[in-house]
Point group: C2
Chain length 469, copies 2
Amino acid sequence: MAEPATRRRDGKAVEAVVRALAARFGNRLVTAQAVREQHGNTTTWIANEPPDAVVFPQASADVRDIVRICAAERVPVIPFGTGTSLEGHINAPFGGVSIDFRDMNRVLAVHAEDLDCVVEPGVTRKALNEHLRDQGLFFPIDPGADASLGGMAATRCSGTNAVRYGTMKDNVLALKVVLANGEEISTARRAKKSSAGYDLTRLFVGSEGTLGVITELTLKLAGIPEAIASGVCPFLTVEACCDAAIRTIQAGIPVARIELVDALQVKACNAYSKLTLPETPMLFVEFHGSEAGVAEQSRSFGEIAAELGGGPFEWATRPEDRSRLWQARHDAYWSGRALRPGAAAVATDVCVPISRLADCVVATQRDIAESRLLAPIMGHVGDGNFHLTLLVDLADADEVARAKALNERLIARALAMDGTSTGEHGVGQGKMPYLTAEHGEAALDVMRAVKQALDPTGIMNPGKIVRAG
Amino acid sequence: MAEPATRRRDGKAVEAVVRALAARFGNRLVTAQAVREQHGNTTTWIANEPPDAVVFPQASADVRDIVRICAAERVPVIPFGTGTSLEGHINAPFGGVSIDFRDMNRVLAVHAEDLDCVVEPGVTRKALNEHLRDQGLFFPIDPGADASLGGMAATRCSGTNAVRYGTMKDNVLALKVVLANGEEISTARRAKKSSAGYDLTRLFVGSEGTLGVITELTLKLAGIPEAIASGVCPFLTVEACCDAAIRTIQAGIPVARIELVDALQVKACNAYSKLTLPETPMLFVEFHGSEAGVAEQSRSFGEIAAELGGGPFEWATRPEDRSRLWQARHDAYWSGRALRPGAAAVATDVCVPISRLADCVVATQRDIAESRLLAPIMGHVGDGNFHLTLLVDLADADEVARAKALNERLIARALAMDGTSTGEHGVGQGKMPYLTAEHGEAALDVMRAVKQALDPTGIMNPGKIVRAG
């Protein structure tokens, strides 16, 4: 068997690859230190591990060539979208070539009748929605950041709309993927469903570039709803927020967004976004449907909230009123950071069965207080998923240690509740240590066997998810 | 490398396995000819290939033992639910042991707050829904037959409700699976979403027992809607039916079922179910929601139908009126058969992008007429998926040849429209010849590599989906 890419770091191989890529791609191959560092992890406490070079393909034929050139020398390839992932997915711990999809940003087709579109991986979600707006369509997955669709698929991301529209796994119809041998495959056709063999689409969604490089996506679209209503609803406790979310979903109200914001995060939003919300746990909610439908949904939700001592629930259908609220929700990461200027914002997320969510959030709040840390909480509460933004002074070793220990306890708590160590941020480097506890060694062996089968020399984004071989 | 199970048919190995299983399972191991034949394919023109023995496990520990005993002698194992699959999935072309899940039929847990449940693979969908009814919950996937949930997951089935509730891939949260080495894994936890590594759940859903044997399922549930409205709507043409479906979905009307029934099938329903429907193409539709919601949806649909020259659309919310209609829809397989008593009913299905559906159905109807065959058509038209029930005299070689050729042209037509050779029936033996045309050799190589990695000796339901090694 060939020596895997992760067991060697061969300067001569890298030199040969850089030479071959420069010959093929000219100034679309960059080795400048600053550019390389921009292409390593920059978003959390995971150290920056820059690649040896960055290349900017313009078509899938370029990607095939890049992978072939790297495969010949067993040099790693690391796909790069917008660099907004949070668990070190884009780091190059074994060196290698970052493939930046910035220039593969074309919307190739929109099939309005079929409610689908075909895009290159570098298209961002905002660019796609801009492109679609005139046709009354939108792509519903919204992770907050203006991420690339290739990156969103690779990390199996989701976000605020997932409670109604699902995650990337539910909204990717088909992918084109360049394999470790440089061949390109299509994972499926454009039919809305199929039972024609193993689900290769779902195998690559969430595989974080470790099995292949995504070069094209066929995505499901939704019609822009006739009416949208949204609003905020304060509650006395986090438990009441969670109970309201459970009852809303059980009542079959097709809520489009239902977001828990804890008191600390509300305070942050008020300060940053110039709002005057009561500083108590609350739900941001949104309903999509007909005029009559969203009015009915809003009323039903208001009744549920009132039964649980929450409210008043004030909802708005005017776009300008709605935008202000959701802008504040989207800016939560920034407003959270503004609570402690100069601190690093370390984002982590877990997901538990919704019946355990209140327990999990309350225990986590207590843990934050006992750990003498500052960490506002927001949650996609309809899915049982919540985020901590740990505000940490990275220069303070003791504080960093307390934050890391808190994150570990958070994950252990979620796993003990039959939850997952990562609801929507992926594994990358940051969550690798927890996969054994989550899946068990035998299931991880299956992942390793798949990795080994598809990437026998270990060149595909090595050091992420599982180590093969 | 060990000689694969598919290259040998070793009488001594089978004897040894039967002896070991009899010692372990007593009279739960059956080798009677009639029982073996019941466990081979019985539903279409694919020949019956009975297993060497049938065993009835009562717990996952039994399944682990069965697989270990078979693995030691490299004798195939073939999981069996209710035997209602249509493409020869349960046949034993290389002999082996059929694992019949009849006795693993317990609902292990219902988590009403989380809208999920945990079941053994032998629970049928009707038994589950019976169990859930008192709690106001239901499992929405309805393939027509009262199939086992293990079989439904294994074939990635869907059915009439898929347009609103998705297919099995969307409604399985987690599986327990016994691998080829006899080890059992869990594919995921009970959290509603996760991005913790490769999507093993979706890898096993639709793998038809070729990668492992499902021993437990965690399923998503839905609340029984407050109100249900349904009705039939006649149209002048199949095209108008398809256009109405497209516009309904584009308008964001959350239709729960939207079923095309062609004129021949309407005739069959009238005769068999004592209805007096106009014998013209029509849509059977159903709406789920609040009282006001289903009324609004029904009105909106009626307006769309009228714009396309269809209607009148008469809808009912009384359960007895609704049941009569949907019973006729569910009996369509039997009413279709009654069009030609004594003939075999050969079911096939394809799925295309919805914009191509009308073209595909009309061309297929023409082809049926030109082939001098009788084959009513029904379709899950909201998904672009339709079924032919070919009524064939299996004793007439010429007719069988014409039917086979028709099926091949049907598949070629669907593939040419960017569709799939099997929308919801799986691959089994019947659709294997078409996977190269559908996926391409490089994508099939990925499937083969996964098969080889997880089942290196080829004992897991060999001769289905792909041949490894």
